[in-house]
């Protein structure tokens, strides 16, 4: 590990009342890789991702971005630092339009005085960019960029969320079970999108319970168990079977893969 | 046809309901076109302002008003007068009193004084160490509340200190004040509270007869109804009946129907001749009179019998 991780964490702890969701968990994401995070239900994967993206504040532990320690007070700060996240529960505002949703929290204002003084939004610009981004990512089966998100099907919504992350993520894109509710066709599209993002040079964190998907796209696999990282494995070196065995506690992780 | 408006504090207090009935009857009789308005609760001055404005828009010739906020309503009244309407304050004088063209009201200080004197005379020597409870109207101490309270004290021989403020007195005979909102519910609770303070209470001054009825229930619940003297103000028919049955010892009867019908007549006259009504000689307002109603007259306190009171009661 001579290359410096782009995003890393050490000793993260997060307690919810009596449950310890993260129990001194570590994490490393390398530049331009797809890192899969796998683990049983309740292992703490989503909690890890939330801590990394500013959605929750860990009780203990440190997070470093490109070597510098960071402390995100809110998802907005993490986004400001270039980390885009698609949360397990989507996080789109149903009544707002697709364009509004894509630019929520990073709206573009009109140029000149109108923008600085009256803070008027530049609707035209935002619409154009939103349309471009969706087309670029091959997601323009959507008829109308001004449509409220609530009128979209589950698959279309997932597409908008992933497109938003892919379009704006400048350093890291994190996806928490992006295909769980999707059909075969829709899942495939999301996987392609991920490979596309990677091709553009961005590292991705993918949480998924779908082993074939994980083994298809991941460069490395972070195995999470009982609130900690218990192993990091290379999908080329390990069988799906062994990965699942480690993940479920049926097998001890090989010494080499054991987390630091 | 002459248009007129009657604006009362609320349309849920029987006093105002009767006032409205009297005005309506008189208006029909002499050919005045009357519209009636009211606040939602006692103290709702905005509704009264809106009502005054409606009357102006409606082209009415005059307004009769029992103001909820006697100072606050003045600018709206001025607007109406500037628009050429005759404005008469009923029951409750405005502040200053000449903000209205005329005031037709009970002398509330006198109303209080009468029941105070009666209570003092009825108790005789016992008045020296009486224990008096005051059941007032609202925490905001409106003028009628202050006048009746202070009048009662004057009549009963209590030093009122500042006559414009309730509660600054230091006479040991005062057990306490509590507010009733002028209804049975508040009357009962206030009486219960004051009884807790001192179960020896033997005189209760109540702001009006619904409050007195509530107080009586509280006393009855602890078996004290026959040891306590309740006095009140209003002279509504239920109240006078309560005097007859000994629930209330004496009440100062007011004449809201008279206030209303005189008011309607004054507006009609003003519309016909441009003449404005004059106050009672020696007073700043037109006194519609007050009579102490009781079947146990006390020496030196003028009163009328319950039967007379029944004949003049208002509902």
């Amino acid at each position: 590990m001579s290359v410096q991780p782009i995003l890393a964490a050490r000793g993260l702890v997060k307690r919810y009342g009596r449950v310890t969701a993260l129990d001194h968990a570590d994490f490393d994401l390398m530049p331009n890789e797809i890192l899969a995070v796998i683990g049983d239900n309740g292992a703490g994967k989503s909690s890890l991702i939330k801590a990394l993206s500013g959605a929750v504040t860990p009780d203990e532990g440190t997070i470093t971005l490109a070597g510098k320690e960071v402390r995100f007070g809110s998802p907005l700060e993490a986004r400001g630092a270039g980390i885009e996240t698609v949360y397990q529960n989507l996080a789109l505002s149903p009544a707002l339009s697709i364009a509004d949703n894509m630019f929520l929290g990073r709206e573009i204002r009109k140029p000149g005085l109108v923008g600085t003084l009256f803070r008027t939004l530049d609707r035209t610009a935002m619409r154009k960019i939103a349309r471009d981004k969706l087309t670029e990512l091959g997601l323009m089966t959507i008829q109308n960029i001004d449509q409220a998100v609530e009128t979209l099907s589950g698959g279309q919504r997932q597409g908008v969320a992933v497109a938003r992350a892919a379009a704006f993520g400048s350093r890291v894109v994190i996806l928490d079970e992006p295909t769980a509710a999707l059909g075969v066709k829709e899942s495939r599209r999301v996987l392609e999108l991920m490979l596309d993002v990677k091709r553009r040079g961005l590292p991705i964190v993918l949480i998924s319970h779908n082993m074939p998907h994980v083994f298809e796209v991941a460069d490395r696999i972070h195995i999470h168990r009982l609130g900690k990282r218990i192993a990091v494995v290379n999908p080329k070196d390990i069988s799906m079977n062994d990965a699942v065995a480690i993940m479920t506690g049926a097998m001890q992780p090989p010494q080499a893969a054991r987390a630091a | 046809n002459v248009g007129a408006c009657l604006i009362t504090k609320t349309d849920t207090n029987p006093f105002f309901v009767k006032m409205k009935e009297g005005a309506t009857a008189k208006a029909a009789e002499i050919g005045v076109d009357l519209k009636t308005y009211a606040g939602k609760i006692d103290g709702d001055s905005e509704s009264q302002v809106a009502a005054i404005e409606s009357c102006i828009a409606d082209g009415a010739k005059g307004i009769l008003i029992t103001a909820s906020d006697t100072k606050g309503i003045v600018p709206a009244v001025k607007k109406a007068r500037d628009a050429g309407l005759l404005v008469i304050a009923l029951d409750t004088p405005l502040e200053p009193i000449d903000s209205a063209d005329a005031t037709f009201a009970t002398d509330n200080l006198l109303a209080g004084e009468l029941i105070g004197q009666w209570a003092k005379a009825t108790l005789g020597d016992a008045a020296k160490d009486a224990k008096v409870a005051f059941l007032d109207l609202t925490p905001s101490q409106p003028t009628v509340d202050v006048l009746r309270d202070q009048g009662f004290m004057k009549g009963f021989g209590i030093d009122v200190k500042n006559p414009d403020v309730i509660g600054d007195e230091d006479d040991a005979r005062i057990v306490g004040h509590d507010v009733t909102n002028g209804n049975e519910e508040g009357g009962r609770k206030a009486m219960e509270n004051l009884l807790q303070k001192d179960p020896g209470i033997n005189v209760v001054h109540t702001i009006n007869e619904p409050a007195a009825a509530g107080a009586y229930e509280a006393l009855k619940a602890v078996g004290m109804e026959s040891n306590v003297l309740i006095v009140s103000v209003d002279g509504g028919c239920p109240g006078v009946k309560n005097v007859k049955e000994g629930v209330i010892g004496a009440t100062s009867q007011q004449y809201p129907l008279l206030m209303a019908s005189l008011g309607i007549e004054a507006i009609k006259k003003f519309a016909d001749t441009g003449e404005k009504p004059q106050p009672t000689a020696g007073k700043t307002f037109f006194d519609t009179g007050v009579s102490l109603v009781t079947d146990k007259p006390a020496a030196g306190v003028p009163s009328i019998s319950v039967d007379e009171g029944m004949a003049k009661c208002w509902g």
Binding site: R18, M240, A245 | K197, A221, N242
Partner: protein
């Protein structure tokens, strides 16, 4: 059949440990956890503390059987209306029309005897039917037309109250007339003594009603369904609860209980007064909130509501006896309301 996927072969050997729960860390935490489990405990503790507070501040006058039972009398009406409000709020609704229903029903009972000349039993029955009908109207608008409870009852509040004033023409029926003609109307005003303690039938009715509804809410299917609907109406519907029917029943029952409160109100006031009960909605909601029942529905105990009503009663009487301006009472009740939910939130947060 393609059979079990290859990578799942190892599952048979998989570990069955569940993520461990840390034991409560301190006695305080353990206490919090205990409180979390019994939702009526916090208001009960606050009630006891405030009794203690005023016993110290006011002394003997306050801490007598007579005073304490007086508080019961003063909260009986709010307590009964609070039962209705509790049922509604447990379904995640709210009923702003409770006071209007109460007073209209009492007016109808009075008018039944004195205007329509009905025998008192029938007049009472008529009043109860009117209350039930108002409640069912609320329920139908909410359940069948899917309108928000706040708005529906904001509307019916005004409609019912205006009807009350128009119908009654603001005429009070005097206590003495009722006593002679229809003492049944004053039934709940009757009292009996046990030592210095004075109990009215109204107080007994309130306590019994709370206990009965506590039983119904916790030990019958209907009660469980009510909690389920408040918790998540869609889930309840899909799990086999007839949500619409339940809501109509709940609002109908709420109306009936309010009518019953109207009857008890005649007992308390002696007379029938169309201006009574104007604040019953705010007062009952306050009792519910201080009693630790969630406005989001599904959580809380009806016993808490009763303790909440009593806390307000203790503060009202206590502060009067201390001799403060009545405005201080309102101010303190405001603080109590916020304090109660803040404590509740704190317990919930730390103990989950």
């Amino acid at each position: 059949m393609s059979g079990v996927q290859d990578f799942e072969k190892s599952l048979a050997r998989s570990d069955n440990t569940v993520a461990s729960f840390e034991p409560p860390r301190s006695p305080l935490k353990a206490f919090q956890h205990k409180l979390h489990g019994s939702p009526a405990a916090v208001p009960l503790i606050v009630l006891v503390l405030s009794l203690g507070l005023f016993a110290v501040l006011v002394g003997g006058k306050f801490f007598t059987a007579f005073s304490l039972t007086l508080i019961l009398q003063q909260v009986a009406i709010v307590g009964i209306v609070g039962v209705a409000q509790t049922l509604v709020i447990l379904t995640a609704g709210i009923d702003l029309s409770v006071g209007a229903i109460m007073v209209l029903s009492s007016v109808v009972m009075g008018a039944g005897v004195f205007r329509l000349g009905l025998p008192p039993e029938l007049a009472v029955a008529l009043g109860l039917v009117v209350g039930l009908a108002c409640g069912v109207l609320n329920g139908l608008l909410i359940a069948k037309m899917k309108l928000p409870p706040f708005i529906v009852t904001l509307g019916t509040w005004q409609i019912i109250l205006a009807t009350n004033f128009l119908y009654s023409a603001n005429e009070t029926v005097r206590a003495q007339d009722i006593e002679q003609t229809a003492p049944l109307l004053q039934f709940f005003g009757q009292s009996f003594r046990i030592g210095g303690a004075v109990f009215t039938f109204g107080v007994v009715a309130m306590v019994l009603l709370v206990l009965v509804m506590w039983y119904v809410l916790n030990h019958t299917a209907w009660g469980r369904h009510l909690y389920a609907v408040g918790d998540d109406p869609d889930a309840a519907e899909l799990s086999g609860v007839q949500v619409d029917k339940l809501l109509v029943t709940v609002y109908g029952l709420s109306g009936l209980i309010c009518a019953f409160a109207g009857w008890a109100l005649i007992g308390r006031l002696g007379s029938v007064s169309p201006t009574a009960g104007q604040f019953a909605n705010i007062e009952s909601i306050t009792a519910v909130v201080i009693g630790g029942i969630s406005l989001f529905g599904g959580r809380g105990s009806i016993l808490g509501m009763m303790f909440g009503a009593l806390i307000v009663g203790v503060f009202s009487l206590g502060l009067r006896l201390v001799g403060t301006d009545p405005q201080w009472t309102y101010l303190l009740i405001g603080v109590l309301i916020i304090g109660a939910v803040a404590i509740d939130q704190w317990i919930r947060k730390v103990s989950t």
